[in-house]
Every structure is written in C-alpha cells, then in structure tokens.
Symmetry: C2
Subunit: 258 residues, 2 copies
C-alpha cells in the first residue's frame, strides 16, 4: 500500500484537484484507492458530490476518538470505480485545536489507517491537506509513505518551496520516520506565458528529476467538473485536463514501481 500526502502550505495550487483526479485515474486502472479529506474546507468531499454538512461523523470524529469511530465506519465508495472517500468536515479545524495537548497528536491518522488495513486492503491512499503546516498536515506527513507537492508556476508558490522543504526535513527528523518525495507537480500551467515558463524552469533547476515530466495545463473543464461533483476523467474524458491527469497516473505508477 502506498500512502501519498498531497501537501503545500501555499493556497490554491491544486492540492484538492490533484488528489481527486489522480486518485480517480489510479482507481480507473483497477487499484483500490482511498481519498482522505483532511482539510476543514472539505473541498475534496464537495468535489466528489458529497454534502459534508449532512454527515454526523467524518474524519474529525475519527481523529478525536478512533475507538469510538474507526476510519472504516466513515468510508464511502464514490462513482462506479474502486474509489473510496473518508470525508472531511468543517469541524476538523476545531479537532486540530483539541488534539494539541495530546502526545500522540501527530500520529492519529497514521494509527487510524493502520487499524483500517487490518480489515480492508487498499493499494493507494491520497491525503488532501489544508494550506498550512499545522497539526493536520503533520498527521498527513506522518501517515504517508510518499509526498506529492503540487505548485503553480508563480512567484509566491515558488518562494515558499524552500521553507516547505526545510519543514519536511525537520519534521521527519524530530518524529523519527522516513517519507519519500514522490514528486513536484507543475499545475495550472498556461502555455505561452513567459512568467510560467521562467518559473517552471527555476523549479526544474531546483528540484531536478523530482519534478514530474507530466505538466497539468490550465483547463476550464477541470473547474467545471468540480461543480458536477465528478473527477475530470469521468466528467469529460477528452478534455486536456483529463488527459494530463491520466498521464500523471502512468508516471506515478512507474515511479512507485521503480
């Protein structure tokens, strides 16, 4: 099983869009895939057409009391592919504050996933993170075997990548575990924009072959698919966005096999 945390403290770089669409493309190839929505905005849940505000229990209740609400009790299948979702909820923000005094606060999600895999098997897990480096994101990094860092080719996103790198190194040292960088993904790339080409080149120079060959280009159909509560591959298979995420799925499977 591979557990991938989709993480970047910069907001709006397509973390949720990548978790949803990469997860769906992997599931379409027959792999049992679990999406975990760890963001209080619950955009991944909304993007799969599930109204989080109607749910009694979601990820926040699991993290608060895993014995009372095990992860398997909140998981639901989405669409007709082996794609499953552990839904998020606005109260995750509150949970983050409540977990603060507990010594195991950074390990709650890792323990919950380990407990789940005793009764159900998954090939891939993708965790969508909030745009911050607080306790929720730390839970994702500790639970993960791999990290995927989406970034748009703009200055603020690029400027933040060094501190993200440093934080990840510091966290893995202090919490004594290993996590591998699966890759850095260029998202919302606008062809023919000088600024995007320039910053993408800087990112490739800084992160070398850690940057995926696959680039996700800006494509309005990606935004339109969110409104429909479907991943782009199920909404419009011919759209460039769908083809980009299919290519990314191939590249991720190759990297993980390597």
């Amino acid at each position: 099983m591979r557990v991938v945390a989709v993480v970047n403290q910069k907001g709006g770089v397509a973390k949720t869009t990548t978790a949803a669409n990469l997860g769906a493309c992997i599931a379409e190839r027959g792999f049992r895939t679990l999406l975990v929505d760890l963001d209080p905005q619950a955009n991944l849940t909304v993007g799969m057409g599930i109204p989080w505000y109607e749910l009694d229990s979601a990820l926040h209740t699991v993290l608060l009391d895993p014995d009372e609400t095990p992860l398997r009790s909140i998981i639901t299948q989405v669409h007709d592919i082996p794609l499953y979702l552990a839904p998020g909820h606005l109260d995750l923000a509150h949970t983050e504050a409540l977990m603060m005094p507990h010594a195991d606060k950074a390990y709650r999600l890792r323990n919950a996933i380990e407990d789940l895999t005793r009764s159900e098997s998954f090939d891939w897990v993708f965790i969508d993170c909030p745009p911050s480096l607080g306790t929720l994101t730390q839970n994702a990094i500790v639970a993960a075997s791999h990290l995927l860092i989406p970034t748009e080719p703009k200055f603020y996103a690029f400027a933040g990548m060094d501190s993200l790198n440093k934080m990840i190194v510091a966290l893995t040292k202090s919490l004594r575990f290993r996590v591998e960088l699966l890759g850095v993904l260029l998202t919302m790339f606008e062809r023919g924009t000088r600024l995007h080409t320039m910053i993408a080149a800087e990112i490739r120079e800084r992160f070398g072959d850690k940057v995926f060959q696959t680039v996700i280009y800006k494509n309005v159909r990606v935004s339109e698919s969110e409104v429909e509560g479907k991943p782009i591959a199920l909404f419009d298979r011919r759209a460039p966005g769908a083809q980009n995420y299919e290519a990314l799925a191939e590249e991720v499977l190759l990297r993980a096999a390597g």
Copy 2:
C-alpha cells in the same frame, strides 16, 4: 483609523495581492497606510521586496512579547509613498501554537495596534491573513474594524463562503465586539468564461450590494509585479490590474466615508 482584515480560508484567492495593491493605491492618494503580514508564508513581505528570512524580529516576535518588541520597532516604509509594512515571518506558525494556552491569545494584535497608535497615526491598516480560520486569523478579525473577503469565481471558493460567514458571526458573538463587512471582492475574473460569469452571478445574488462593483480581472502583469517586489500601480500603471485596484481604492474610500 480603519483596520481592514483581508480574510478567506480558501487558498489562492488573491488575499495577499489585494492587501498589497489596495494598500498601495490608498497610500498613493496620500493616506498613511500600514500593511500587516500575518501569514507564516510572508508573501506580502516578499511581494514588497523584503527578505523576511534576514529579519531578527518581525510580527511573530511582537505577538509573542509585545512589551519586548513593540509593533513600531518592526515597521518599515516601502517605496516612496506613505506605505509601511509590519513584516511577517515563517515562525508565525510556531507563534500560533505558543499563544494557544494564553487567555488573551485572540487579542494580541489588537492590543499591539492600539499601543502603536499612541505614538504614530495611520489612516488605514490592511492585515493579510493566512488561508485558515485559526488563531492568527482570529487575531486579525478581532483587531479589525472592517473585513474584506476576496474570492475567485470558482466552485470551491464559492462553496466555502457560507462557513466563512457563519464562523465570523460566531466569533464576533463569542468575543463580544463588532466588525463590519466592507465587501466581497471578485478576483482573477476571466472575461468570457461561462463558469466565472455563472458563479459571479451566484455570489452577487447571495451577498447583494456587499459585493464590490469593481471586479479584479485576471492580468498576468499582476503576477509579474510580485517578482519585482512592487505593487502593480508602481510596476505598470497602465496595466488592467493596476486600473482595477485604483478603481477598488476609490470604491473603498467611498464605502468607508458612507
């Protein structure tokens, strides 16, 4: 003095871009304007051309110990207009955790600004918030007289506005103070995109005349100005982005006078 918190837990909706450019346009009209960078990413500081990583003290040291490091000791003027900056720093994330046990944790910024205004006067203060509703953003809302909510005309940003509204109402009730919604600002609007037109109409229906008449259109020069560490009005006055933010400044001054 008006203190405006630029807030939205959705990431990447142009909070920083709006604080920087609206602040600069207001300062250009002769108003003494202070920008406060309350985001651990310190993008506002970077966008003004200031390397936060070289600073010994910044907003994090003020919030931790306002007697030791008063706000006026970290303020610096930027460009040749009456525009000033209280720089942010990555350690603000750490500060947020350290403030948790203190009873006055939500009031630290408000107290720091009140202390500042005993020795220096400002007409306008704009506070750039991180993409979350945690203690840092609560500090901004408590310190503010007005809120400005930027949002892009996309589904996830729109879906999150109800919970943002509810949180603000709940916070102002529990902390017993009043804050006024200055307005909701449509940003990164792409003309001729059906999805943007549709969602903008939904936002105007939901928030009525709270939505600014001025719309900020997508304009690559805005992103290019960040790289130069200048607000768009100083980088390229003829750019559509500069004209949009000038028009917004006019509308904000009218609303505040009203």
